[in-house]
Amino acid sequence: MRTITYAQGIKEALEEEMRRDPTVVLYGEDVAHFGGIFRITSGLQEEFGEERVFDTPISENAFVGAAVGAAITGLRPVVELQFADFLFTTGDEIILKAGMWRYVHGGAYKVPMVVRCPSGAAGVGPEHGQCPEAFFMHSPGLRIVSPATPADAKGLLKSAIRDDNPVLYFEHKLLYATKGEIPDDPDYLVPLGKAAIRQEGDALTLVAISAMVPKAMKVAERLAKEGHNIEVIDPRSLNPFDRPAIIESVKKTGKIVVAEESYKTLGVGAEIGAMLMEEALEYLDRPLRRVAMPDVPIPTAAALEQFVLPNEEKIYQACRELLN
């Protein structure tokens, strides 16, 4: 076991997969010489050369769409968007091209590509701070992952690169510097579609996504001290989505809180609620609680951002409400 940061986990995954497979290429704005605005990719151009690691023009349509063209002709492109929000500038390329090229052409092609999307509110306002996973979870053909720990950041990115489908990989900006343990295994992979039970318990199920996971763990600790053993589930991947893990947990606990940084209406919590109403209604003894962004854009000023962001206290209160 080693201790690494989340940012390092991403970088190691890129390095290892690029060494392993010459068809993996990496590009985006400022990723090559500068090493990316979040400095994840520094040194990669030196190691892999200008053809495999390069800077692009500010042309999100072209370079995200190009990943589809490259993927169907034999590469495994990894594209870095500077901010996850820029996915919206490439709606056609992501949703209708990456997500559907294989299907509309009757399975003739595989589309192995990864789009790295730095997500999360960090004082940068509504166009640089969203967690837009839920938009894309509604769209067929895409894989979606949102790692919360350094080990998952690495293991899921390696799996994403090896996957034959387009993967949106959401890396939360406020997690980059967080640390965690990771096995030494150079082929450490985390499978897509498998939730992690971060803590077992039977008092309540707390589903937490991405940066909400560390907050959820603190809430679990606090509640443990108060005598409530809650279960914390980190779905890690939103497509495929490990529905059974959540359903099984709720059958045991009868109570659920979902904590996420997406907008509340039709956020991931909506799907979880509806799914439970379909498949576990008789086990539910308390109402659903969704701790999410209210349905407003993310304001820039710190006080306003703090007001809208889900945080430890809000998650704690939601859990307490159900436990009372």
Partner: protein, 317 residues
């Protein structure tokens, strides 16, 4: 262009024309559905351009007609099965005639949203470059489509990375009901190359030799590692935008005028003058085309419809 090539192009133009005529009949008779945009009048441009490609090159066709597939050698019976949603098509009922595909022939497919093709072409060019291959990508698009932002982003991207992509505009004067001069800020779309510092030219897209020469040159340029080109063939859409288009937006005189420039009889005449084609050969080629189509339709009609539940297949690899 040697005689064999000329005849081959001619045959493919004839086959495309006859096939579209039959497809129009089938659609009008309600025998097949399908969202078909006919290419009648543009076949010379399409067939001659594709004739410049090597068998391992890539191409992205536009939404206009069947000639791209005929030219590249996709069996017409498969196209008909795509059109009618039967087994034996290229995309298993998923994409219909909008998404005919052939990985073996380098036919990458189509974007149903106009302009979606440009980034895909750029990406194929990128993979050629990374793999140190000497293939090229030929990307067709319409005059109207040249106004999509993806055009600009992809031209620039290919230019700065010197990717082997030939962008070929079929300027047929119209985008559905909107004439090109009303929607497009330049008379010659190939002039947009000045925004990207890439070579290119405008030529008569109904003239097989002009097309073949211009595209050959651009393909050679790309294959030699010198990057993209922007070409434009002037042509005309002789039929409506789709089969069933009331076509109320242009005058009959205008359409008539262009029928007199129909590339099929024009090329026929030229090949006759050049003694590449005789009256007898011409009749033979026509007969053969019709026979091929009859066989293909007979094949299609015997194919079972795709089963509904296959809708759930082919999404993830």
């Amino acid at each position: 262009m040697d005689k064999k090539l000329k005849l081959d192009i001619y045959k493919k133009i004839v086959l495309s024309r006859r096939l579209e005529e039959r497809i129009a009949e089938l659609i009008k008779a309600g025998q097949v559905g399908g969202f078909m945009h006919p290419g009648v009048g543009q076949e010379a441009l399409q067939v001659a351009a594709i004739a410049t490609l090597r068998s391992d090159d890539y191409m992205l066709y536009a939404h206009r007609g069947v000639a791209y597939w005929v030219a590249r050698g996709i069996p017409i019976q498969s196209v008909l099965c795509d059109l009618s949603g039967r087994e034996g098509g290229t995309n298993r009922g998923k994409g219909g005639v909008m998404h005919v595909v052939s990985p073996e022939l380098g036919v990458l497919g189509e974007s149903g949203t106009l302009g979606g093709c440009f980034p895909i072409a750029a990406g194929a060019g990128m993979s050629i470059k990374v793999k140190h291959e000497d293939k090229v990508v030929l990307c067709f698009f319409g005059d109207g489509t040249s106004n999509r932002g993806t055009f600009h982003e992809s031209l620039n991207f290919c230019a700065v990375r010197k990717l082997p992509v030939v962008f070929l505009c079929e300027n047929n004067g119209w985008a559905v009901s909107v004439p090109t001069e009303q929607s497009t800020s330049v008379k010659d779309i190939a002039d947009r190359r000045h925004g990207y510092g890439v070579p290119g030219k405008t030529f008569d897209g109904n003239d097989v030799e002009q097309v073949y020469d211009a595209v050959s040159e651009a393909v050679a340029h790309a294959r030699a590692g010198n990057g993209p080109s922007l070409l434009e063939g002037k042509t005309y859409r002789l039929w409506g935008h789709w089969i069933g288009d009331p076509d109320t937006y242009r005058t009959r005189e205008e359409v008539e005028k262009h029928w007199r420039r129909d590339p099929l009889p024009a090329y026929e005449l030229k090949l006759m003058e050049e003694k590449v084609l005789t009256d007898a050969a011409r009749a033979e080629i026509d007969k053969d085309a019709r026979a091929q189509i009859d066989r293909a339709i007979a094949f299609m009609e015997k194919q079972p419809f795709m089963k509904g539940e296959t809708a759930l297949e082919d999404l993830y690899a």
